[in-house]
Subunit: 657 residues, 2 copies
């Protein structure tokens, strides 16, 4: 029988093997391939689409349903004034440089990173000939190895190594001018041509278009779904019976016109996002369910650590991080923990997941604090979820631009009682005395604070008081013109602009990292790739494999399919005329966790075998027992070890697999 | 107790009432409303998003899962060459006219329709003062009534009435030039200004953009998801083990830059589509499951009926329509029937659903036959699903443009055996005789059909034969230069370009028509609107209503919520401090089919009441019985009458509702 101890690390990870599996099984492929493709655009095929929609379905359950969020579906096309107000037209941009001779466009920060990293690799090679440069994309790898012959074993002075490492740790913190200086100072040229590059210029990452037939209504494709939430804030608040806090959620397509996308699904021009906008009272960012996640342990990489040039994480609980002020508030901490729970539930390796705080200059223009869930993969550590405190930024700018108040009016349970001086102006007498300048006088008094009113009251008690307008004009006031009294004021309402905590998920990036974390090859045969996707997100849960295409097997196959469907388990039948070994190998590549084999003995005895993907171990039992067991396995209520107790071990494995 | 006989037609349908409900409950709202909006763009709020995703979930079950379709998710952004090849750059356009003085842009066919329809209404008013003009949108209605004072009772000559009616029946069949002629001939002006309009010009309906930082890669937003299927045809075929037929399916956003969108959700610039591309052997468009739908009865409006100026439908079965050649083939008929079953299942009124065949000039440039599922609503009959036979058009144009073959290579089970004359040319001798002209001679022989070769064979048997090239040059052939023999040929493979049958669903249009078909007002109070959405698609299935906000009720409410979740029933709690009547009224507007009321008696006796939305009738029983019953109601395994047998009728209804 099959070996039940599986060694998933017998072969080191090779991205090219995974990529060839993903392309071969049509998880996804470059879009417009037969038209020679367009960089940064990918199409999902059947297994990729299923994997994606399973991840989204779990996201919907974990966030929208469990937390009673209000779902939205807003438009992609957005008229220009919205992004002018939000600041995206002015600031949603990357720095690009041009090759001085060929005109090739490069992203400035990526250029600096790639060149300095290559120099550091070459230095390390000089210091240790056994050194292997770390993760880089295939194309780069080829170039790097081509270049290595040239660069190989160039030892750098220790101070320069330290300086390069320091630059790389702070890379997201540089302005365009600083990136330009780095290029000049460190003689960074286009590695493909060795030509110098231009000064960095800004390139706005939004796709532009024009709305309607007249050509005079400019628009953009949204680079995030967030604005759709903010613009509908008043309707959402009303839907939520005018109470805070509440969260809206949206899953949808967004677009960013990346300068030079290169890292497969990790940097694309069109992608599916899932975004939450949690609207909260700025004076109270506690979260009612925080205690449920208080003990979740995370790897944190805070701002100060990075600014000191280090990338060493600290293992801590969310509770401790919030208590110590590392994470700014409970709501932000709550979502950081919920993001962690979601990602690990769908199969992300928790050891390759960290939360990194943004540095001051790196932060998006609208955020006051931000923690990225970064997942390690063969390209490095990649931001897959952002969790930002956008404060009142967005609601304020849209409210200012449109004049439409985006605020909460809170009826206070106990009114706020205050005492203060109140001036009562006798308008008719004032007009008689000051004529056209009455309103100037009125404004001076209205703008006085409590202390100023008290002082004025004192002066009036002595007869006459002189007040001065902002432009220096003096007016004499006498007690007949106004009285000032101390009054008790009750404030029954409070008006404020809510703050927003925004967890924002890049579904494609998460999906790609999950594929890397799930991929391995069988110890005895490196060509036999396996995707160990959890049943929760696997495109197909159970593969039904009739051992022959003879008609005798049809009724049993149909019966099993129907019973699985009734149990809510998504299965597929593979009745192709391939050998059973090839059919199982195909489904290992597709990540199908379980297989049910139907043969002539099944028809005679009413028994079928159940195969587990990772171990290739097989069990045998009556049809209904196998269906009950596999249903529990798929729903994650039992593990394989328990299944092996319920059903008999099948000995014919080697012959079949 | 409540009246169980419900009169849903006590009040005639008024669109403005429905619209105010939909806006008030945030089913959807004009996008960018606080920025004064952009025509043709709408955002879905919480109930609209849920309704939409329930419709999509049922679509996925009905089509993708039940028919084992291959799901895809392809990009919106598309480089220009794709739509140049597909013909969209040249022909995906509408005719627009401009107001000669104001420059306002109008869609030419809509202008003709609205003006002639208004004249016919005015004529009918003259003939019958009690006449009410039929469905038009609100804005128009106001204008029409304003205009009616002016136009009222203008009787037209009988011939002109007939001519207008004939034009309206054929409206989709006119070219731009013809629309221009109609405007001149019938003095059709802009009804808002009475100004003349310009000659119709074409306006391409695709949104344009630019891909990447250089500005030299033009692109479009897809106006349909279909091209994404076609471009991935080879990968899909491989995924399906290289066998036909198979169908791919995709649900996603598409974009059309409509000239003057006016009819709410029915004509928008951004929308969700669900599209199927069923790839089939052009020589065999039978469908294996056709017998399952053969007896489905439909209202059909065929091409010939429309071309004769009539819009009278014929009631017939799909089987009869295919047998009589009204619907071109089984696969097209199969999908027409499946579309009918889907639409009626989610709640579309079958009496307001017809299938209309496209007329010759109306057909999209890629289609050879097309049937639209049209749903009647207050704007008229609206195309909500198209079902087109695109033949081999798309695969052929992309294959020609790219050089990438998009074909099926079929291994024939029994090779095709043919006998034919085969020429064997003695090349060396031919070269010796004809030198540089050998290839011309070769081409002449190669291009000969069987009969020509047979004749040549006869001539050679007599000594010499003369053959003539296309440009008239003569060559003398002798038996030493070639032999011609009859041979038996076996063809083991067949290569062909598949045909495509495309059902294409506009989800937003279906959703809007469903809302109209579901809306009514209570007989006793027109202000109390109800949306009788089927439980299958209703945003919330069960509303749990605690009668008081006292803590004593919390545990029971939590218990019911948990038990419903376990039973797979999506519920919500409304614990706002509104009266129970107002809470139920709100949920009638939200289309929630069932309500469970929890009060202090519930805590004491363990019983709760179950309310049905349409009748407002209430039943009472132990918690578990009510949950079991409502689960069956939601899953549509029992009807309310059956529920009323299982549980006791509750008498306190009037007090509560």
């Amino acid at each position: 029988m099959a070996n039940t101890v599986v060694n998933k690390t017998a072969h080191p990870f090779e991205r090219s093997r995974l990529e060839s599996l993903l392309l071969g099984r049509f998880f996804y492929a470059p879009a417009f391939e037969i038209y020679s493709g367009v960089k940064g655009l990918y199409d999902f095929g059947p297994p990729g689409s299923s994997l994606q929609s399973n991840i989204i379905a779990e996201w919907r359950k974990h966030f929208i349903i469990q937390e009673h969020m209000l779902e939205l579906d807003t438009t992609v096309i957005t008229p220009a004034p919205v992004f002018e107000a939000s600041g995206h037209v002015a600031r949603f941009a990357d720095w690009m440089v041009k090759d001085a001779k060929t005109g090739e466009v490069l992203r400035a920060d990526h250029l600096v990173k790639n060149v300095l990293q290559a120099r550091l690799d070459s230095d390390r090679l000089a210091r240790d000939p056994a050194y292997q440069p770390p993760k880089e994309d295939n194309k780069k790898k080829k170039k790097a190895s081509a270049g290595k012959a040239k660069l190989a074993a160039v030892k750098l002075p220790d101070e320069l190594v330290a300086e390069y490492e320091n630059i790389l740790a702070k890379l997201d913190n540089y302005t365009g001018t600083e990136l330009g200086e780095l290029c000049r100072m460190h003689k960074i040229t286009n590695p493909d041509t060795d030509n110098e590059v231009s000064e960095p210029t800004m390139f706005n990452l939004m796709f532009q278009t024009s709305i309607g037939p007249t050509g005079d209504v400019p628009g953009y494709l949204r680079p995030e779904t967030a604005q759709g939430h903010f613009l509908n804030f008043s309707r959402l608040l009303a839907f939520n019976n005018n109470t805070l806090p509440f969260a809206s959620a949206q899953i949808g397509r967004s677009f960013r016109n990346e300068i030079a996308p290169r890292s497969g699904l990790l940097r694309v021009r069109e992608f599916t996002m899932a975004e939450i906008e949690h609207f909260v009272d700025p004076d109270d960012k506690s979260h009612p369910n925080f205690d449920e996640v208080r003990d979740v342990e995370l790897d944190l990489l805070d701002r100060h650590t990075q600014e000191s040039g280090s990338t060493k994480v600290t293992r801590t609980t969310v509770g401790a991080a919030v208590d110590q002020g590392i994470i700014a508030n409970q709501t932000l901490g709550y979502f950081v923990a919920r993001i962690y729970l979601f990602l690990t539930k769908i199969g992300i390796n928790p050891k390759r997941l960290r939360f990194r705080q943004h540095m001051a200059n790196e932060m998006a223009h609208y955020a006051t604090d931000c923690w990225d869930a970064e997942i390690e993969n063969s390209f490095g550590w990649t931001e897959c979820v952002g969790c930002a405190d956008r404060a009142a930024y967005d609601l304020t700018v849209h409210s200012n631009k449109t004049g439409h108040p985006l605020i909460v009016k809170e009826q206070l349970a106990t009114p706020i009682v205050t005492e203060r001086e109140v001036a009562d102006l006798k308008m008719s007498l004032l007009v008689k005395k000051f004529g056209k300048e009455t309103s100037a006088v009125k404004d001076i008094v209205r703008e006085m604070d409590d202390a100023q009113l008290l002082r004025l009251k004192g002066e009036l008690a002595q007869g006459t008081a002189t007040v001065v307008s902002n432009d220096g004009k003096e007016y004499k006031l006498t007690p007949d013109l106004l009285t000032i009294e101390r009054k008790t004021l009750k404030l029954g309402k409070r008006e404020y602009t809510p703050n927003v905590i925004e967890p924002s998920f890049g579904i494609g990036r998460i999906l790609y990292c999950l594929l890397e974390h799930s991929f391995w090859s069988r110890e005895q045969d490196i060509e036999r790739g396996v995707l160990s996707l959890p049943a929760l997100v696997a495109p197909t849960k159970v593969l039904i494999v009739p051992l022959s295409s003879k008609k005798e097997l049809f009724p049993l196959v149909a019966e099993i399919t129907a019973k699985l469907r009734k149990a809510g388990v998504f299965s597929r039948v593979d009745d192709s005329n391939k050998s059973i070994g090839r059919r199982y190998a195909r489904n290992d590549e597709l990540g199908t966790p379980f297989g049910i084999t139907v043969d002539f003995a099944s028809v005679q005895n009413g028994t079928v075998t159940l195969r587990e993907r990772d171990t290739t171990m097989q069990l045998i039992g009556p049809v209904d027992d196998v269906i009950a067991t596999v249903t529990e396995l798929v729903n994650d209520t039992i593990e394989w070890a328990e299944a092996a107790k319920r059903l008999a071990v099948y000995d014919g494995v080697q012959a079949l697999d």
